[in-house]
């Protein structure tokens, strides 16, 4: 039921993706033929650039992931929204202007501006590569999740499709993802999320998604056998025999009891009415034996009020567990510090020429992103009660919510999400291949290359990164993409933020200090993630109890560690010459 395909949907999807690709090629070529790619950027209007900020930042991961987290776990998904937006405050108020004053344009250049050190170049190139790869994983997982219901393809096919398409774009056309394309994507995403929110408020809250009879509380079982065959409740899965969709409203407050629906509701009334209602969520229990892996989904009724407060996803918060609190605090710190440390975000700040226009466009970006994150709350809660959730995959909550209104809307939303993945992935692969060709091979290894050779090395690196992205995208299937982005923020904040902040505000910072802070911050956060309970359980499939790390999000320890290392190493090495 959830995974049937419709020719109309595929048609709309194909047309949408094709026109965005066409536009991207066309504008990209125009940009190159004019005064070069970067000169064209100087003329971009601040409003357009501001929306493009949003287009860049609101990757499909943030859209699919947050809606899914809210739909599955309630309020805790919204905490991600709050954290992602808070990061922009750091970027605008603290980091952006001083970096602009340094007169540099990229992250590595900024860190290296004063020193011209090979050590810094090497450390920053590797950290750019690691952050890019960790940011790539959720994009690929999101792409795989999208094509399953839309095109009827399995997850791995979707990941390979995106990987090949993107690698092809990067290798043949180079950097064509222009500001205009990001502007169109950002505007469409926010516009259609607004449309969806209006539809949700207009529909109001409907008991059992308008289906007759009481809520369906029968457990469902999905078994995956060692040979890969999927069984639903003991018999083979097919188009007709699949998991029933979940996520409904069980009952409304007293005053609506007769009708079973509220009719149109205002934005605040929607939230307060939901708070007095009960919903049907489900518990997932996974077991493994010789017959394969079994997931049992048991529906249960509970007051919606439980889901509208923290503690649904960060479970220990209400139980008073210290490690759960540290884990939560650590994530929120990483989200706060991470945005300003993402290499591809800061670069966007320089796409308009003058400082006032740059500030104005950042504010437009923050406002657009802020509006979007308010909308995610309604999308997530709307999906939670839409009766259209796939209990195996939280990433599909937003597109399936669209499907509860119409197939056309579903195709449009999926297409927007998919093109956003394409844009973000090609940008990340470009950044990564640039780090390999320009920073690692040329500057660090000291290989002299002609322009032609430099392009070839970059393309080879892009193909390599594409393959890595495909492999990881398949490996991490079923992870919530918002959660995965959280890891990228942890690594970025741990590796880059201490160096960035201290370089700007502490004159005693030395090149050895920066190199050490980037290296230690990156290695420590990466190692922590690989040894954490979440990774043990979900990636390696071993019990989370044997994991050596006390909590899963490293930022709370590794961000201060980066600062400490930088200060200690800087004090132990000779002061830089005064300027």
């Amino acid at each position: 039921m959830l995974h049937e395909t419709s020719p109309l949907a595929i048609g709309i999807f194909a047309a949408f993706v094709a026109s965005v690709l066409w536009l991207s090629f066309r504008l990209g070529r125009k940009g190159q033929s004019a005064q070069g790619y970067y000169a064209a950027h100087g003329q971009v209007h601040w409003f357009v650039n501001g929306v493009a900020f949003a287009g860049d930042y609101l990757s499909a991961a943030s859209f699919l992931g947050i809606c899914g987290l809210i739909a599955f776990y309630g309020y805790d998904g919204f905490l991600y929204s709050i954290g992602f937006l808070a990061g922009w405050v750091v970027a605008l108020f603290v980091i952006a202007e001083p970096i602009k004053a340094l007169g540099t344009f990229t992250f590595a250049d900024a860190l290296d501006a004063r020193f011209n050190s090979r050590g810094i170049k090497l450390a920053v190139a590797i950290s750019t590569l690691v952050v890019s790869v960790f940011y790539l994983i959720p994009q690929m997982v999101g792409a795989g999740a999208l094509v399953t219901p839309l095109l009827g393809l399995p997850h791995w096919a979707g990941v390979i499709l995106v990987g090949i398409a993107v690698t092809f774009i990067v290798v043949t056309a180079g950097m064509v993802s222009t500001t205009w394309v990001q502007f169109i994507k950002g505007a469409l995403l926010v516009f259609f999320c607004g449309v969806l929110t209006l539809l949700i408020l207009n529909r109001g809250l409907v008991v059992n998604a308008g289906r007759p009879g009481p809520a369906d509380l029968a457990p469902q079982t999905r078994s995956i056998r060692p040979d890969g065959q999927v069984l639903i409740d003991g018999t083979p899965q097919s188009a007709e025999h699949d998991l029933r969709p979940v996520g409904t409203l069980a009952s409304l407050p007293e005053r609506y009891a007769g009708e079973g629906r509220t009719g149109p509701l205002g934005p605040l009334a929607y939230l307060s009415t939901l708070e007095d209602s009960t919903v049907v969520t489900w518990r997932r229990e996974t077991s493994r034996d010789a017959e394969g892996t079994h997931d049992v989904f048991t529906p249960r009724e509970r007051p919606a009020a439980e889901l509208l407060r923290p503690g649904g996803y960060f479970k220990g918060l209400s139980g008073g567990s210290l490690t759960a609190r540290l884990d939560f605090a650590s994530l929120m710190l990483a989200l706060f510090c991470g945005t300003a440390s993402l290499p591809h975000i800061l670069i966007r700040y320089y796409t308009v020429k003058d400082a006032a226009a740059a500030r104005k466009s950042t504010v437009v970006g923050i406002a657009t992103i802020g509006i979007f994150y308010v909308l995610t709350l309604y999308l997530g809660l709307g999906a939670m009660t839409s009766g259209f959730l796939d209990p195996t995959n939280s990433n599909m909550a937003a597109p399936l919510l669209a499907k509860s209104f119409s197939d056309t809307l579903f195709a449009v939303i999926s297409a927007i999400a998919f093109t956003t993945v394409l844009g973000t992935v090609s940008g990340l692969i470009m950044a990564g291949s640039g780090a390999v060709a320009h920073d690692l091979v040329e500057n660090v290894a000291g290989v002299q290359m002609t322009d032609h050779e430099k392009v070839r090395v970059g393309k080879l690196a892009a193909v390599g990164l594409g393959i890595v992205a495909i492999a990881l995208g398949i490996l991490f299937k079923g992870f919530n993409v918002g959660f995965l982005v959280g890891w990228a923020f942890n690594i970025a904040a741990s590796a880059n933020l201490p160096a960035l902040v201290m370089l700007l505000f502490w004159p005693r910072t030395t090149k050895q200090g920066i190199t050490a802070a980037v290296t230690v911050g990156m290695t420590a956060s990466l190692a922590w993630i690989l040894l954490s309970a979440d990774t043990f359980e979900k990636v390696y499939g071993i019990s989370r109890d044997v994991a050596p790390m006390p909590f899963s999000q490293p930022g709370l320890v590794t961000i201060p560690l980066g600062f400490l290392v930088l200060v200690v190493v800087s004090l132990l090495t000779p002061a830089p010459p005064r300027r």
């Binding site: 405050v89 407060r309 802020g370």
Partner: protein, 74 residues
């Protein structure tokens, strides 16, 4: 390089708001279940408030900077 006082002051305000909210979450979910503002609970009211605050502070920031950009050298 010049220290950006307006930016740092507004940043300080936001850190207090964000940190205060995290403190509330860590203090326990029960308090956040209190109904305020038109029947919406405190958790959602705070979350929406933080988003509005980020946008409002950034608008204040450009207004404050706009007055100075004429005598700035950048």
């Amino acid at each position: 390089m010049p220290i950006n006082r307006v930016g740092l002051a507004l940043f300080g305000v936001y850190v207090l708001l964000y940190g205060g909210f995290m403190g509330l979450v860590l203090a326990g979910p029960d308090l956040l279940a209190t109904r305020v503002l038109g029947g919406v609970n405190l958790a959602i009211a705070c979350g929406l408030g933080l988003i509005v605050a980020a946008v409002a502070l950034s608008v204040i920031y450009i207004l404050a900077r706009a007055g100075r950009s004429r005598d700035s050298r950048s």
